[in-house]
Amino acid sequence: MTVSRFRTIIYIVAAIVSLAGLADATYLSVQALTGETLGCGGSPDCFRVLGSPYARIGGIPVALFGLVAYFSAFSFATFAAFGYARARIFLIPTIGAMFLGTLWLLYVQAFLLHAYCRFCLFSAATTFLLAGLVIALPAGRDRSIS
């Protein structure tokens, strides 16, 4: 298998993984927007985490930021898979930022809230997988479409 082909496969896998994260973030965003996470009756695993003050930044649900991040990662990975070299330049910092954000959210769940939301853990796993895929990318220039 050529390096270029291997790289393309990684981008495709990253796009598929991003889609899973996107679905998860969409669900969490809807939960936050319907107010389900502010009371009991919805997902019991989620309300302690998603109903906490850490779940919003400036009044905007963190899940919405996640949705945008996963959609960006999906878009960049898709373009990169089709040979758009510039997409890789954006993909790596996007996943890097998502990784750092995920570390913070895991810290909040483990040490500040002492509660875990399984949808958040799924999102964390997705981001870690994306980070792993980016790390696995062979060095060198992509074939490019300008």
Binding site: V30, E36, C40, F71, S75
Partner: protein, 222 residues
Amino acid sequence: MKRYLPFVIVALVALATIGSGAMLYRARRPHVLSIPENKTVSAKGDAGAPHIRGNPDAPVTLEEYGDFQCPPCGMFATFLGQLENEYDSRLRVVFRNFPLTMHEHAREAALAAEAAGLQGRFWEMHDVLYREQETWSKAPNVRELFESYAGTIGLDVDKFKKDMDGEQVKARVEADRQRGQSLGIQITPTLFINNQPLDPKDKNPEGIRAEINAALEKKSQT
């Protein structure tokens, strides 16, 4: 064609995300109805009247459907105390039971509150249950704890025990739950201000204060 394919894929995913998000939002958004005129709380008590705290003739009524084992209801109970101090005679608070099946001891707690209510100490038990929520929520035998709370707030404990098993309190809790269901309530706490459901996005201190102020403003104009 291949050059444009990623644009098509990304656009399709964007559309699918927006579409599925919108559908999910519509499906999950609580459709809580306003409290109809014939079901509003009267200023004076009547048989089976709801539990009211504050000035019975206050211009603003905050009606809560709550579950004693629900942590956000517990947080709201603390905030409710602040609101009552802040608005004083301008606000009356109504509590209705809406124990959720997902909470193991919620129904029993509601029965305990209603049993205390039969001795005129509903709100005292309401406050103790929320204050001690973390303790009894995890306890294997909540009955013993509820009985100790009954003693603490000065109830006749033997009567309290008997009432907790009685049909009267069960019927009352059930009536509240059915009333809540008829209004489309699914989650707790669900709040109504002057019979209008509070939008979930306003379920925070600022939002609640803003709605109470708006209701006061409206009343002063009529």
